[in-house]
Every structure is written in structure tokens, then in C-alpha cells.
């Protein structure tokens, strides 16, 4: 038997809505360096993923700030650091999942687990361009690893899917920043 190659499309209508919402909310995320880890959804009901959602949004906002600070310090790197624009979208995407989640899922105790909190302090940019790019590459790889931890405690499958994709996006961005990687 012959089948079509490769696998079926996976972009759902909900994903498209979340991503388009990310475009709208991106500017807001860029203005927030320390989102509150609220356990309440916008509708006022308990959000079992509130802590994870806040942590990921905060981490991604901090990454966006680090890229912005590096571009300010080394304007000639702007084009090669455009890969960092994704973090504003990522922060907004996880935030945008809150509304749909709160009304559909039961409350769980997973949010009680300790999760890393990103400091809202202004990013420190290394003194040379090479070191600055290397630091961003390392930060991307660290963020990718954190996503693997965060998906262990999420309840909402859609949020879990988005964080998994964010982890994949951070890993690939880190790869690009780290240097030649073409097979």
C-alpha cells in the first residue's frame, strides 16, 4: 500500500488563533519584565497552569530583553539577532492560552511545584560581540532545557504543545546562533 509522504498537517485552528493573538499581544509582553504568577485566569476562575504560564512568559520576555539589549550594544548584529524576535511571540502565546484553559479544565495542585523565576533585572551584555552572541546562544539552550522541565507539570494539552514548540524554537535559535550547523 502506498501512502502520501510525509505526515498530516498539524496546524489547528486554535493554534492559528493563539499565534495571531501573539502578534497582537507582543507589544504588551515587551513592556512587562515581571509578569505576576497569578493563579487566576482572566475570567476569574482557577488556572491550574498559572504558575507555569507565568514562568514561561517571564523567561521569554527576559530573553527578548536580552536580545534587545545586545542589539542596542552592537547595532551591527541586528540582522543576525532577528532570530530573537520570536520570544515576544512566545511570551504572548503562552499568555493567550489562559482564557480557553480556565473554563475547560479542573483545578490541580501541579502549580505548587517549585519553578525557576527569572529576575526582572536589566540584562547584562558581554563586552564583545562574539561573547554576546555566545551568551544568547547559551541562553536559548538553557530556555529549551527549561521547557522540557515545565511540560512535566502542565495540565492543559494545548499549553503543553505550545511550550514544547517554544522549546524546539529556542533550541533551533540557539543552534543558529552557535554557528555553522548545516548537515
Amino acid at each position: 500500500m502506498r501512502s502520501h509522504l510525509p505526515v498530516p498537517l498539524v496546524t489547528s485552528r486554535r493554534q492559528l488563533l493563539v499565534i495571531s493573538g501573539a502578534m497582537t499581544l507582543g507589544a504588551l509582553a515587551g513592556c512587562t519584565t515581571s509578569p505576576s504568577p497569578s493563579q487566576q485566569s482572566p475570567s476569574g476562575t482557577a488556572d491550574p497552569d498559572g504558575a507555569v504560564r507565568a514562568t514561561v512568559a517571564s523567561s521569554q520576555t527576559a530573553l527578548a530583553a536580552a536580545f534587545a539589549a545586545t542589539v542596542r550594544a552592537f547595532p551591527t548584529l541586528a540582522k543576525s539577532l532577528a532570530v530573537g524576535d520570536r520570544h515576544v511571540s512566545y511570551a504572548a502565546a503562552v499568555t493567550a492560552t489562559a482564557t480557553a484553559t480556565a473554563t475547560a479544565l479542573p483545578t490541580a495542585s501541579a502549580t505548587d511545584l517549585p519553578l525557576p523565576v527569572v529576575s526582572p533585572a536589566a540584562p547584562v551584555v558581554p563586552t564583545t560581540a562574539v561573547r554576546a552572541v555566545a551568551a544568547l546562544a547559551k541562553a536559548e539552550q538553557l530556555a529549551a532545557g527549561q521547557c522540557l522541565t515545565q511540560i512535566m507539570v502542565t495540565v492543559d494539552p494545548e499549553l503543553t504543545r505550545i511550550i514544547t514548540l517554544i522549546g524546539a524554537g529556542c533550541a533551533s535559535a540557539g543552534s543558529v546562533l552557535a554557528g555553522p550547523n548545516r548537515a
Binding site: S3, H4, L5, V7, V10, L148, P157
Partner: protein, 136 residues
Amino acid sequence: MPDVDAALQDAVKGQDAAVYAYGLVTAALTGAPASAALTAMADHRVLRDQLRALLVAASASAPAAAAAYDPPFPVVDAASARRLAALVEDRCVGQLAALVGLLPAAQRRAVASAAQQGALRTVSWSGVAATWPGAS
């Protein structure tokens, strides 16, 4: 709520398709890229078997691989081989990400790690790091 067994079956089918695709890709490449394709094929085969084992453990039926698959475009040279490899990897990333949220916590990390590896391979074949992997 999506069915975890159905998502697992889709992922197994995707991995089977990837293994087949890398056969086409490898045949069109030489040297280090061909070696990378063979490594990727082996990785997909291992992941397919792991996902299949999850289905068996859940007493669900595991889909059989097709004898052949139609690529979305002819693989006639290194460029088209790279394009197919990047496309297959990206679509597998999307499938795996959809699956992760349906799995129990203990099984999530391995699948999410595989998604990250797929995203890295997508970059290595295409040279492009898409903002949202898995959207192909």
C-alpha cells in the same frame, strides 16, 4: 479531549514516513550529509519503536508501516533531498508536540526532547530556524 492512542498512532505513522523519506534523502546525498541522513533515519526508527511500545503497553493497536510513500515532490538532487528532510522533520515536530500534552508526565520529556532534536535537524537541513517549528 483528543485521544492519546490516536495521537500516538499518528506519531508512529509520521516516524515510519520519516524513515522512508530518509531512504530517499540518503540516496540523493553523499559524504557527511549522507551520514547525517543515515543517523537521522536511525533516530526516527528508534523513536518509532519507542512510540509503538507505548501503544502496545496501552493495549492499543500499532499501525503498520506502508510499503511505500509518495513524497510531495520528486527527490532528484541534493537540494530536493534537503528540502524533503527539512519538511519531514518539521512535520514530525508538530506531531510530537501535539502528542506531548496528551501523555502522562513521565513520558513527556523523551517525546519533547525528540521534538527539539527534530527542530535542530530541520535547521541543519534548511539553514532556517522557523519561529514556530512544526507549522509546515
